[in-house]
Subunit: 195 residues, 4 copies
DNA sequence: AATGAATGAGTCTTCATTCAT
DNA sequence: TATGAATGAAGACTCATTCAT
């Protein structure tokens, strides 16, 4: 009885807000902007979300969960660490780069709204374990300690995200394929193998 | 004298705003916060700056100019590219890392208020020319093209800044000295020499 | 059976609302508060009551009717005006004082939602007639005219209620037994007899 | 320099709000009502008061302080306790009754916004000391203990205020002069003297 | 009848900027 | 020039009530 909560509306609010937050920033996007853009009445925003802050939080949380799940899928589809690495580079990263809105939000506001450090740690661990297996399998002597790898991965990941963001929104003179190429070459150099 | 007093006020506004913007963000800092913190009357803020936006712009612009000048000073103090590189690593970077407030502002809001891409380009060019001389002087065959170096420098620079920011404000499990160490090692690996 | 269930719901709404209105006030109590506290669906509130206002009105109306009925019962149980007076003082007043929630609502909002003056008049008449019979029976010469008695009863009644309210909710330094004692002594003084 | 805060505006806001609060109640009076009625811009309300709640608090606080001061003046103007009592009855009470708006606010909302019990205690002490001197001077044996007097004064005061409120706003059948008369007679009875 | 999502007018409050003094 | 009161559009959010299911 009574109307059931409408999943489509929730999704519409999230999608619209994500675009707006990415374009204009969280603070420059008003609830009234979201209302105009979605065509929903103000009240409806609040039947689906406690407040404006919760909207960003959910965008980040669900966006990240999605990325994470996709990566896990790729990792589970093979045992070979090299294939895992390839999946990471050829499928996961481009997929992530497509979600520029999420990247924007993550880099701009996520710090205040979600534990970004936990997410980075999750990711770092997964990649580190792949690289280690890869090294083991191919008899590669890694020149970096665990801690060094950790630092490297964090710096790379944040750097790549930010570079992609700038690549799309400014005249930085660097393209996304070039960034992809850089990532690939770096890994190849570090691991001494072709991907 | 009166002039000096005015400069003091301007500087006070900039310093206070910088701290506040870095701590609470641009949008969560009100002019009235700046007024309370500086003890100046509201009107004064507007005799020194056109509006709130101009305050961030000046903070970023002057902050960057300062960094840039410091780097140039170091570069001019020697002809030896290795010494230049060392100055970069041992003086410039730590100096930059000390200005965490500026880093915070640059990464969070700068995009909207200043041409960060131009600044990155400036920096990239300087470093690139150092590395090239270094390679030439030491007969190192650089394995990266100019474009690749550009991409690499951008990714590294942004990644390092963001990592430092996170290192200070969250529990990311990575310290600034570790980040410094990573930078050094990366350069040594890439250039095949000790710094 | 189904009917009984409905009566239960209606009663639950009234009881819960009464507590909430007394605790937080009518305007600080939202329908949603009543919903949370009762566990009933919002819609149910509106199948039992036209709107929020009607809930207070019913609380006051039924609460008063109950008090009135109890008083009448006591009065009917005896012919002796002295016993009536005693019933009034020893049973009715303490009973009323126990319904602090009703007192709170009556004093705070009743004016807007119910004809409190009619209720006061009803009560005043009953008490006045008791006192008159008492005076007659005991050959007491009342020093107050009818009008004066009316004023006195109104002032006393309102003053007592408000004092009880304050006694319970603030640190007024006066207890309910002390108020009871004052009432008794006043009547004894006025009527020149022991109760 | 700059405009000085305008005492007239502050007074206008207080006066207007007092009337509105008394007429429609605190919760039924919106800031926007105050704005319409005063003709001031919204912002101005907030340059003079922190928020809506502060407006009531100030109304009550300043209103009470005024009453209190007036009473003190009367008390200081004479040493004779009988004259003090007369001042109380013939000047202070009528003055208070004229400020019906304040009475309304005091009885309706004061509990939540001001320590009404402290105010009652202040008043009670003053009156009690007058009555005691009076008793002493005239060799009257007071039949009430200090505590009893306290209770009596509280009940009387609250009862009178509430009765006056009802007398003005409803059809309670009792007039303010009649209430005044009752007060006078009660005191005369209790103290055994003419006022 | 029962339900609870839907609605949007209305709430209080903020705040960058202006301008009278 | 220095000041800080004045301004009002815009902000996020609430909530009694309705009505589709």
């Amino acid at each position: 009885m009574a109307r059931a909560k409408n999943e489509d509306k929730r999704a519409l609010i999230l999608l619209t807000s994500k675009t707006l937050f990415a374009q204009k920033g969280f603070f420059n996007t008003s609830i009234s902007d979201i209302v105009s853009e979605t065509g929903l009445p103000v009240g409806s925003i609040y039947t689906y979300f406690k407040n404006k802050e919760e909207i960003v939080k959910v965008i980040v949380e669900e966006g990240w969960a999605d990325l994470h799940a996709r990566l896990l899928d790729h990792f589970r589809s093979t045992k070979d660490p090299l294939e895992k690495l390839q999946a990471l580079i050829e499928t996961f990263l481009p997929g992530l780069f497509d979600d520029l809105d999420l990247i924007n939000i993550l880099l701009a506001e996520a710090l205040d709204y979600t534990r970004i450090e936990e997410k980075l740690e999750e990711l770092t661990k997964m990649i580190f374990s792949v690289l280690r297996s890869l090294a083991k399998n191919n008899d590669i002597k890694l020149e970096y300690s665990k801690k060094e790898m950790e630092v490297a991965l964090i710096v790379y990941f944040l750097g790549i995200l930010h570079a992609v963001k700038l690549a799309r929104s400014t005249d930085i003179g660097v393209s996304i394929p070039e960034i992809m190429e850089f990532v690939k070459k770096s890994i190849e150099k570090t691991m001494g193998l072709k991907v």
